[in-house]
Amino acid sequence: MESSRGRALPRLRGFSIRLEPRLDVPRWLPYAVPVASLIVALILGMIPMMMQGINPLTGYRDMFLLAFGSAYGISETIMKAIPLMLTGLGVALAFRMLVWNIGAEGQLYMGAFGACLVAYTWPDTPGWVLLPLMIVGGFIGGALWGAIPGALLAFLGVSEIITSLMLNYIAIQWISFLVIGPWQDPTSLGFPRTTRLSGGATLPPITEAWYLPTVVFLAIAGVVLLYWIVRRTSDSREKIKLIVGYAVLAILSVGSIWFLSGLRVHLGLVLSLAAAAVLSVLLSRTRWGYEVRVIGENARAARYAGMSLKRNIILVMMISGGLAGLAGMSEIAGNLHLIKRVFSPGYGYTAIIVAWLARLNPWGVILVSLLLGGLYRGSDAIPGAPKALGMMLQAVIFFVLIGGEVLVRYRVRLDRGT
């Protein structure tokens, strides 16, 4: 007994686990790994569920049904996804250039501040004037808050990871000050919150009244597209692509009005999708987008090519912050209609996970946001379950999904001997 143990030990110690970069990644691997990760996460998540005496199968079924099982559930999932989309887009843009903006949470709060500053200054303005102004105000609020760590990085070389993170706390405290101080609702008895936004300052929910403007928009877009196809495109594959894209857009927009009208989803969804479209075109079709990608891949080469690092760092931080600011604007104007003290459950931090899982792709951000929105909704609202269970499930799924990404780029090797 003693001797066999003695032999076994050095042999065990002889094994070593190494991560080796993959030289070429098989086509199927980037899809298979997240799927496998998710299955592993769901299996791990069963443990805390069973410890709580909940049947994991019915538990997961209930979560899925809460998030995606009815039009109402999908609408509430989208409500959670909208701020994730906007903050996720902002974070993804900054990460493209390897600028680590951890400050989306604070930028979201300052965006809400900027938008509400507009709304409380001119409360009686009609919505078609006030809402665009609030969107601008929200974007500027977030952009200026993002510009601070951007400028500190560009001119002084101060790590943006630290400064953007620390600015979050200042922004949250600033809002706390406003809701128990100058902006507090005098009729709230003393509860920390602001007065309700005027009707013109709220993002309208999707209703059947949207059919007409949507059809008009689609008609105009159709004419432009037709002109483009006839006059500017010679490649027939390109023509088919454009026509298919237009058909998808038309079906999706009309279909979602039909599906979501009368529920709570608001104009913020359109704002998020438009932001994704603009960002995706900017990144793939413009000189600036090319600069962002080159700087992200090789800053030194970019500098030799005459690209301005300083200017781009500040610009990217401002746009990134501005998008997070829009998230704050849409959350207040579309969902809550007034500011409460800590009104974001950490959207700006989840945005980092969203951007990462989406591999920094704008349309990926939209899709991942919808999935994580569903996860949030499903795990938050299980009646009779402890709050901590939902949070544990979220954490397990995030942890395993992010951790699994390593396996796409590296292979695990078990070596015997040294």
């Binding site: 980037p30 899809y31 994991p56 409460k340 609202a381 009779g384």
Partner: protein, 367 residues
Amino acid sequence: MVRKVGFLVVVAISLGLVLAACGTPAPAPEPEPEEEVMKAAFVYVGPVGDHGWTFAHDEGRQYLEANVDDVETTYLESVSDVDAEARIRDLAEQGYDVIFTTSASFRDATAAVAPEYPDVIFENCSGFLTDENMGSYFGRMYQAKYLAGIVAGMTTENDKVGYVAPIQIPEIIRLINGATLGARSVNPDVEMEVVWIDNWFDPPAETAAVNSMVDAGVDVIFTGTDTTVPVSTADERGVWSIGYDSCESCDAAPDLCLTTPCWNWGPIYADIVEAVRDGTWKRDTIYRPMSEGTVVLTEVGPAAAEGAQAAVDAGWPGDDVFCGPIHDNHGELRVAEGECMTDMELICFDWYVEGVNSEVPEGVGCQ
């Protein structure tokens, strides 16, 4: 790029498949519950394990299940003020007949959802706001705080009592005033210190509040928050304490905890659910006094000054706590001899009685 999007589509589909597959082995949907089974849902502001406010409400929920036939209940715990509206709407959407929202913080969220679901009855605790299908219920806790104040006033040696105060609203001002009047009715030298933690539930802040007051010489701590943390912190610092919310609060410090003003919600929940079932429910503001048993003061513990229990019994049920003469803490006579404050004045309380060593924060009260 197409590949990346493709990957996400695969994830989405597989998520759906996995979860749908998880769903299949589950038993077929149960047959429609019989008409008379009532479904009641509770929205809690803290965790059911807080041993305080939410714990007491959850005991009330369990009482309802045990004492009323054909009632099904569920709850959502630790619902944040920000999420409340969405969660309350969820429960209405899921077909609950009665929805109890057990915090003044949920008052406006409840009032926002109620008109959307006219067939559901909403009941908000301590918010004093009603609607066609929304009632409000509460108990006259200030009476028990007054009696506990008697115990504190007789027991304190430094004549300094402290109150760990949660959220800056009139309800808390009212309770601080009740406790102060009780303490000064037996010991006119007592001064009441107040520290706000700006939250119903925040154990680190509660500990810090107790420590700062004990450092300043306070030797009896009243807790006004949702937990027993102030009681156990006071015990660690070797000072007396008065519990709150759950009648088992003093279990956290049996040696130094004097007594506990606490809630007995069960009967109110049973009455409301029965009324909804019978069709006799009507829009109402329930504000039950101590004599009806919603508010309780536990037996005075051994650490209290001698004769405290007798003094409490003599003062019970404290119906005249806010009857004059009462001066505010700037010496002005606010309630004349022979007059009593109205319920409306109590609900909007925005001044401290004589003996409270603090100022009412700006913005508190009705405007």
